[in-house]
Symmetry: C2
Amino acid sequence: GSGLLAAERAKSNLPVGRLSELLFTKEVLNRKQRVLDVLKSEKVFDKSQNYFAGRIDRFGTALARAKKLRNLRLKHGWDLEDFRTANELVSEPGPYALHDSMFLVTIKEQGTPEQHDLFLKKAEKHGIIGCYAQTELGHGSNVRGLETTATWNPEDKTFTMHSPYLTASKWWIGSLGKTANYAVVMAQLIIDGKSYGPHPFVMQIRDLKTHEPLENIHVGDIGPKFGYNTMDNGFLLFKNVKIPHIGMLARFSRVDPKSNKYVRRGSPFLVYGTLTWIRSTIVMQAGGVLARGVTIATRYSAIRRQFQDRDAREWEGGENQVLNYTMVQIRLLPLLAATFALHFTGKSMMNLYQENQKKMNAGIANADSSKRGAGPEETESGSDLLADLHATSCGLKALSSTIAAEGLEVCRRACGGHGYSSFSGIGPWYADYLPTTTWEGDNYMLTQQVARYLLKSARSVLNNNAPTNDTTRILKDFRSRADIGCAFDILGSDCDLVSAFAWRVSFLTFEVLKHRDEQKKAWNDLLVDFYRLSKAHSQFMVVKNFHSALSENSTREKLDDDTLQIMHKLFRLFALHTLEQEGSEFFASGACTVKQISLARTNAVMKLLQDIRPHAVGLVDAWAFDDWVLDSSLGRKDGKVYEDMFYRASELNPLNWITVDPYPDSEVLFRRDERSKL
Amino acid sequence: GSGLLAAERAKSNLPVGRLSELLFTKEVLNRKQRVLDVLKSEKVFDKSQNYFAGRIDRFGTALARAKKLRNLRLKHGWDLEDFRTANELVSEPGPYALHDSMFLVTIKEQGTPEQHDLFLKKAEKHGIIGCYAQTELGHGSNVRGLETTATWNPEDKTFTMHSPYLTASKWWIGSLGKTANYAVVMAQLIIDGKSYGPHPFVMQIRDLKTHEPLENIHVGDIGPKFGYNTMDNGFLLFKNVKIPHIGMLARFSRVDPKSNKYVRRGSPFLVYGTLTWIRSTIVMQAGGVLARGVTIATRYSAIRRQFQDRDAREWEGGENQVLNYTMVQIRLLPLLAATFALHFTGKSMMNLYQENQKKMNAGIANADSSKRGAGPEETESGSDLLADLHATSCGLKALSSTIAAEGLEVCRRACGGHGYSSFSGIGPWYADYLPTTTWEGDNYMLTQQVARYLLKSARSVLNNNAPTNDTTRILKDFRSRADIGCAFDILGSDCDLVSAFAWRVSFLTFEVLKHRDEQKKAWNDLLVDFYRLSKAHSQFMVVKNFHSALSENSTREKLDDDTLQIMHKLFRLFALHTLEQEGSEFFASGACTVKQISLARTNAVMKLLQDIRPHAVGLVDAWAFDDWVLDSSLGRKDGKVYEDMFYRASELNPLNWITVDPYPDSEVLFRRDERSKL
Ligand SMILES: Cc1cc2nc3c(=O)[nH]c(=O)nc-3n(C[C@H](O)[C@H](O)[C@H](O)COP(=O)(O)OP(=O)(O)OC[C@H]3O[C@@H](n4cnc5c(N)ncnc54)[C@H](O)[C@@H]3O)c2cc1C
Ligand SMILES: Cc1cc2nc3c(=O)[nH]c(=O)nc-3n(C[C@H](O)[C@H](O)[C@H](O)COP(=O)(O)OP(=O)(O)OC[C@H]3O[C@@H](n4cnc5c(N)ncnc54)[C@H](O)[C@@H]3O)c2cc1C
């Protein structure tokens, strides 16, 4: 194995370090290394039993790690970025995750200064440990449908928290199952028999000393999951539990204790922005998430040899690296291209988000705070300035997490039988990542929001309004040329390739608009079209952003010409492979001819695979994953795949400390169990 | 939940029982019930801790179950079908699985009567317990590349079994890790320094009393996997281990102990047929495998309500069953159609196989016994009679297991957040099924064999040979009309729909043939085309078989007209949805127009969803899964989803018997652990 990877690296002149710096910056790379050194030196982060341990042991270890991370943060004076980096390197969801994120953020953003004093300070010191309890057994996506009630009691100025049905039980709440003693609870605010919709309440749920549940609170862990088993997702039921007036997070709305009236103050535009921010983070991370699988599968395919090339002459001998088979390349290399495409797209989303923050802070938006959280909000966009960013983030969240999740499984399967071993490192990672396709807006449902926005934009174009952003601009361009048609040289010009994606999404938008506005089709009958539309729009965004990133001066300065060439090839591979997969839409929209699509497939893509192949190992090396982070036998940087597989199986595997009684006539199962010696 | 499912069942007039009988026959349904009753009454099959237990406990329980199944078989005098049914109902791979299948079958088929006496008799009584050890750390697909050697020693008439490299270690061998004391080992036969390729050897590996490994044998479990954790897949290394002459399975080839020469006798056509049989079984099972996920997701979608219909008037109130959303329907209903499509295809493959058995038994074939087993054999088809069946089984194995595996994940995701819980029952089932896409021929690699066969058939047609089977017939038809073109009424005629699939595969075959024979493209450069070709051919086979099954008198007699109508709609849904997904190939081949494809998508498929929707619950009920088998909260027949989720989480979940210490300053993790009370 080692020899083969060394040869791969020698074969390519790719400046791997420079490429890593382009992706991450030197500063971030240094930070990673610094934090990694600390983690590696702590025994609790030893990963050797991760793949063997059962649920409860894994959870216990995860709790120990969460505690240690917090203590290391204090000890080394880590800032927030250091701390995030540490969590990322540990690469498993831990029992403080929701405390550190949604619990703190929600109190910070939606609490009053008084509430900050009361809750935030303690929380920041881990004097209390919290979670974010929105989803219920019966309701996730539809936040308005939550059944938990918070009823205002004018007599004693308290709220009564209650779960009227079993389906009102909070469910899936990260860190709630075992760890949290506090929770932000989303509940229907009821004053004088009238419901004001879901609002956030901070409340204690377990005793701070004994850690036992408080009276009339039924709380626990929801059980094993496909992945995410280091996290204690929990359930929570209330039987008329009273909490004080201060429990309702009151920055944007409150109950006036004197008049017993509901009072709104200001608008939670920050909250609205947070949602966009979270989704942008998911887009940003998707590239790196996928890059793990691609790194593992690419390195393994370069050391795995199987069969001789069928056309090879006898004397050429030796078995072929499976990475040389085009059927392996077509599975892995477009995903390799996708890692970069998603990375650059995420970066540009983040930049856009930051630019918009300023405008947002001016307080233009007018959205509803109850929409915060895991489900997709069914609200109309509150701010015109934000609308484009919001819609784009919905669509890209859906597309990028789907590409990453499904791509990881492609990588796993590309490794053949060994991909199925936990030691491949892909399966466990994939299983932990999967919920990203469901939370922060189910990927299928988010597409409705993108479509709604595109329809609105198209109507505005039809009304001859001047374009105000990219979306209206491409729609306008399309309208002006719809009768003339187009003739994009998708194989010869990168700009034309991007334009073909714009053309297709514009075409689809006006098609769908016709269905909705002219043919008056029911919303429900259009959901499948919306999904396609959203996918088309998001693919356009990714292609466009990848292309722009490569055209920027800042990029061109950092890379030599050869490397820039390879990056352009990755761009074309991603774009043409996507175009070919969606061929019938491109053709139907007139964005290109059948002949072009067929040439893209049989010539252009195959040629790109061939050109990129020699640099495949270098390109994944640029993602700079440490072996400790990957925790994969197949993805080892030194190629010692088989040695590592064997070592883990024979030396670390506790099942091998047991001898069974194999005969059906004996009721004895384990006749010797020496696990204690391990 | 209950009310909603009852309403669904009341709404549809589908004769569920009759449909079940069509799928399975009354006899099989009765058998299932009879065996199920026995299993349910045995404590060891209690499933309540399945989702909670760690690897070692699960393996221990699986061993206990395997023992019990064998004892029940004796006690109740179960025949082979009863026993298979019992294993299917238990629904987890167990430690005797390879003993009961490949170990016994290989000895039976490849052993001499003497070897049957020596090994088979003991094995059938579980006096010895075996496995099938072919794959190695370094070689799976490429069986010829195996490195384990069996060197003939003329002096003492023995073989020396040896693993010259670490990569020669047997790996992935089911039942070997802990359970087996015997193994069929595939090893390179070496006589007088010359290798004769891989041959099967029977040998003892563990002591029959102590169950400790014999001298110079290193054997153990390979560790945790993505699924299949109730099975002890193992590794095995030899250091010059001698076995007697009788160890080499000698029905088809042997070493003559007198002359020390390699002797072939007869040809292992049976073995060759077995491969086809195994693949046909996979096709047959794929429908049922997928049907579990579809049953669960469909029932859950009928009780899950989320959001009001956006176009609904206020006073219509209430939340919508998510099964009413077209975006949910388009994910589930084509898969529902696929369950039937695959089932009927599998059945017809099995029939074809049985018909061919007779011809095979005449001994026409001439294949190589070393090709047996898990990898796809790179052999030319040994028998012209079998070639079509063989190629078809390769392609269909790949297509059907891909549809089933990927379909299960679609079902899981369609359940939103709750799909991620182990209690959904889909995830664990999916994880156990996944290796089917990799073993018995990696799904990507098998497509090369299909393509090779189609190319051969096309050459024969070009040479003006008369068609000898269905494949050459459709190729010939296509040739005769290639210049004229076609005009299939895919939306109006079911026969035309089937013909469109035939047209497309014929078109692609001749395209690829041009690339290979005229343009002399390298084999490796065509792998992606081969993959597409194989997929097209297999999709044609499924569509054709589904259609034929519905046209048969035996089917038409069993179903009333309404039900037959619905089955035809399922056929059309499967065919048109597939066609639409592969639109650009259908269009490029001229099999239909862009307009037709667009109508198929926007009109025909949407209308079919609407028509099938009312019968969705009835159709999955027809698959007749007992709740005990599904072991799913979401898929409960009575719809008590939330109650069951809650019960499992709060009552069965061992993590809830633990109280943690949540504070980072405390090193205590579990401060109270009352699991023993559970
Ligand atoms: C590992 C994990 C951790 C989580 N952590 C937290 C947490 O800490 N706090 C918290 O509050 N929540 C948490 N959640 C919950 C998560 O946010 C929800 O599961 C998610 O929002 C999906 O909602 P749902 O489960 O209700 O799906 P549903 O809305 O029930 O979706 C079911 C199906 O119906 C479809 N569907 C629903 N409505 C429509 C519609 N209008 N149109 C078309 N299709 C529709 C969906 O696409 C889906 O296929 C977590 C979930 C998971 C899996
Ligand atoms: C759960 C499980 C149980 C098993 N049980 C047994 C058992 O009991 N006994 C036993 O003997 N084996 C067993 N196996 C092994 C199994 O049969 C092999 O893993 C399988 O045959 C795949 O071979 P491989 O792992 O060598 O894949 P590889 O051949 O290494 O494939 C790796 C990758 O290369 C690609 N590739 C390889 N060659 C080519 C080519 N020529 N052209 C194009 N692409 C190519 C493949 O598509 C794949 O993507 C088991 C495996 C699993 C996962």
